[in-house]
Amino acid sequence: MRHLLSTTDLDRAAAIRVLDTAAQMAATQGRQIKKLPTLRGRTVVNLFFEDSTRTRISFETAAKRLSADVINFSAKGSSVSKGESLKDTALTLQAMGADAIVIRHQASGAPHTLAHAGWTEAAVVNAGDGMHQHPTQALLDAFTIRRHLTGGPGNPDGVGNDLAGLHVAVVGDVLHSRVARSNVDLLHTLGARVTLVAPPTLLPVGVGPWPAEVSYRLDDVLAQGPDAVMMLRVQRERMSTAGGGFFPSPLEYTRLYGLDARRLATLPDHSIVLHPGPMNRGLEISADAADSPRAVIVEQVANGVAVRMAVLYLLLAGDGDTAGTAPATGAVPALTSASSSGSTPATTAAPTTTAGATA
């Protein structure tokens, strides 16, 4: 794996490998000293052309727990938001010796362009591009679903498992959602059955070939007893004429597509509720549903760090790189903690925390 641009980059084996590695990473995060020396001396740049404090912090935490140097490059607004700047920024980061670039961009395909235009040698991780993909979100969703619905005594994280036989409903603004696209591809790759639920205005023309069923009626889909229900964020502005006029009113949206206590009660006991956040409480999800024991939303956040650690690890230290240790097959102790001096890699020791914002 050279870059992670889309969940379609991952076949079943590669996806399971990321999830299994994430399980190892998660195990180390239960310890008092969470830091691993694996990426010491490597530089990870968080290049964010679009605000997302949550995603940036998650990637930053992941990189720091692997002892990488982290540079946050907020390129939003003013002069850097247009055209040529992506190229100039890439050239700058290349000159600064970035080993990995985590990019969030409002334009679909910007990470693809960054990875393939010849501007940088760095590994590129897509942290969300326009309406296209957000692969680490889908991976953390799959990790969370696998843990809850396939894990058992002796294998709480469901290591080695796929999601075959599970039914996942993805509900909300599919049209504008990179989370939905990433999840449909990954869930399908892992063997799950996916049903998209949305008003017809919020489904893309051309959704036909997607490996998913489509329904306009949430109650019908919930009656099928899905194992997981993933609620997508719906922006209130989509209702206005300027926002596209996709639905008549927030109230009507909530009535037809919101997950509330009544709908929650119709689900089988084992079913879980996911949301990529940030939530619009009272719009796509009620407080009852969001705070219920079935909701694994807070856990998704924690799993996000483990999954992003796994992705950075596999991109920068996987596959025989001397700076890393054996990945998926190794036991958890193979990913030794920073306190264990024995496994400090040969690379020049560098400060383990750097967070100066440049730009």
């Binding site: 395909g109 893309p204 051309g206 070939p209």
Partner: protein, 450 residues
């Protein structure tokens, strides 16, 4: 004194090999008389062995963006018409979306004059329909028609004349001077923020869709308006199967509508967008294979009257970026004839006479251009292009005559090569090379400079 040229063993369109003498700005002789006349010719006779080659009337482009005035960093009238000559054109229509806009007699005359000075092709400025392409007030269409540039084609291309009342008035008004409204059919509300064809590929790669209906709805409205007021309508760069159907229906009703397709819509599909390379970003967008098949069929059966390039040069910085930030458009003057040969002639859909019809005769007729698109006969003006259909070449945008490198056909091998282009008997291209005038300081370095 201009040289004389004897084209030996050339096929006129699909005919048997013969000889053609170009002299005095005219097709001076054809057949055995050409050789006889050449024997008595002065020293400056240039004999070209044209065995296996095809002679067509000089090509006429109804849709060219020359970018001057305003964006001389992307193209100039001199560099763009030099590229046109290299592609076999003897006349081009310069679209109105320049800065300042070609919406007054003064600006269209300036463009016309710069074209004449450059001397590569005839340049016919297109006049804007509305002031500043803003779609609000009619530009002074009559003044442009009566100017030295003699404008007959009016278009807000780049933008759609979406207000039905303004469109109706424009259609009616230009009847006074036999003009035509060339519509860029794009319903603006349905295409806000649109990046590519709306369909399976856009759904997957997450680019905002440009639905076929946004083109078809405007064409349907406009053919009905044209019928109602009895005017002439031209549809620019028609790109969908539905548009072909609507135009076919309109023609069957006797509506005075003509339509064009671009070379890129004859050969490329929206699948090209998957790599997010903005060189494939164009407006209207590349469509599906079914649409490509439909426009080829429409061109072959005459529903689509012409091929026009929509040559749209852009600087590197306007394309060297993420898709959404990139400009729409691609170059086409130097590859148009090859694409038509590849998709229409080599596949058996069209003859060379058909090529002459869609790339010369029909565009000259629609644009009311005199002296171009004429039959190749003794006494006709020698606006001609000599093509070698047997040669093949790989497209290298940096080596083209256009000042911009945004060709979507980079690296592709295409059939056919323009060997020579004659503008009123003067060779603008010989041996495939533009004939820069060494006496002209602009060409001192062998290359046009702005």
């Amino acid at each position: 004194m201009t040289a004389q040229y004897l084209l030996k063993d050339v096929r006129i369109l699909d005919g048997e090999p013969t000889d053609v003498l170009v002299a005095g700005g005219l097709v001076a002789a054809i057949g055995p008389e050409a050789g006889d006349a050449a024997e008595n010719a002065p020293d400056d006779l240039d004999v070209i062995d044209a065995t296996g080659m095809v002679l067509l009337p000089g090509l006429v482009d109804l849709h060219t963006h020359l970018r001057e005035p305003g964006r001389e960093d992307a193209e100039t009238i001199a560099s763009g018409t030099r590229a046109a000559a290299a592609g076999g054109f003897t006349a081009v229509h310069a679209m109105a979306n320049t800065t300042p806009t070609q919406d007054t007699a003064g600006v269209v005359e300036q463009v016309w004059r710069l074209g004449a000075q450059a001397g590569w092709t005839d340049v016919h400025p297109v006049g804007a329909v509305s002031v500043g392409l803003a779609g609000e007030h009619l530009a002074e269409l009559g003044a442009m028609a009566d100017s030295a540039a003699r404008v007959r084609v009016f278009s807000d291309d780049g933008k759609c004349v979406h207000d039905p009342v303004l469109m109706r008035r424009a259609l009616e008004y230009v009847k006074a001077f036999d003009g035509v409204i060339a519509q860029h059919a794009q319903e603006p509300r349905l295409t806000e923020g649109a990046q590519m064809h709306e369909g399976v590929v856009s759904a997957e790669i997450g680019l905002a869709g440009w639905p076929a209906v946004a083109e078809e709805a405007i064409i349907a409205r406009d053919v009905l308006l044209a019928e109602h007021v009895g005017s002439r309508l031209h549809v620019c760069h028609l790109s969908t199967a539905g548009s072909v159907e609507i135009v076919r229906w309109a023609k069957s009703r006797g509506i005075d509508v003509t339509a064009e397709v671009t070379p890129h819509h004859l050969v490329l599909t929206d699948e090209e967008a998957r790599g997010y390379d903005p060189v494939f970003k164009v407006n209207p967008p590349l469509r599906t294979q079914a649409d490509v098949d439909a426009v080829r069929e429409g061109l072959a059966d005459g529903t689509i009257d012409i091929v026009a390039t929509d040559h749209a040069p852009h600087t590197r910085e306007d394309k060297d970026c993420e898709w959404a930030a990139a400009a729409f458009g691609m170059t086409g003057l130097e590859t148009a004839l090859s694409v038509v040969q590849q998709t229409m002639v080599d596949t058996g859909r069209m003859t060379w006479a058909d090529v002459a019809r869609v790339l010369s005769t029909n565009p000259a007729r629609i644009g009311r251009v005199e002296g171009h698109g004429r039959p190749i006969a003794v006494g006709e003006p020698a606006n001609l292009v000599l093509v070698d259909p047997e040669q093949r070449r790989v497209v290298e945008p940096e080596r083209q005559a256009t000042a911009s490198a945004n060709s979507p056909l980079r690296g592709r091998e295409l059939p056919g090569r323009v060997v020579a282009t004659f503008l009123r008997g003067r060779a603008t291209v010989l041996d495939g090379v533009p004939q820069d005038d060494p006496a002209d300081p602009r060409f001192a370095a062998g290359r046009v400079t702005p």
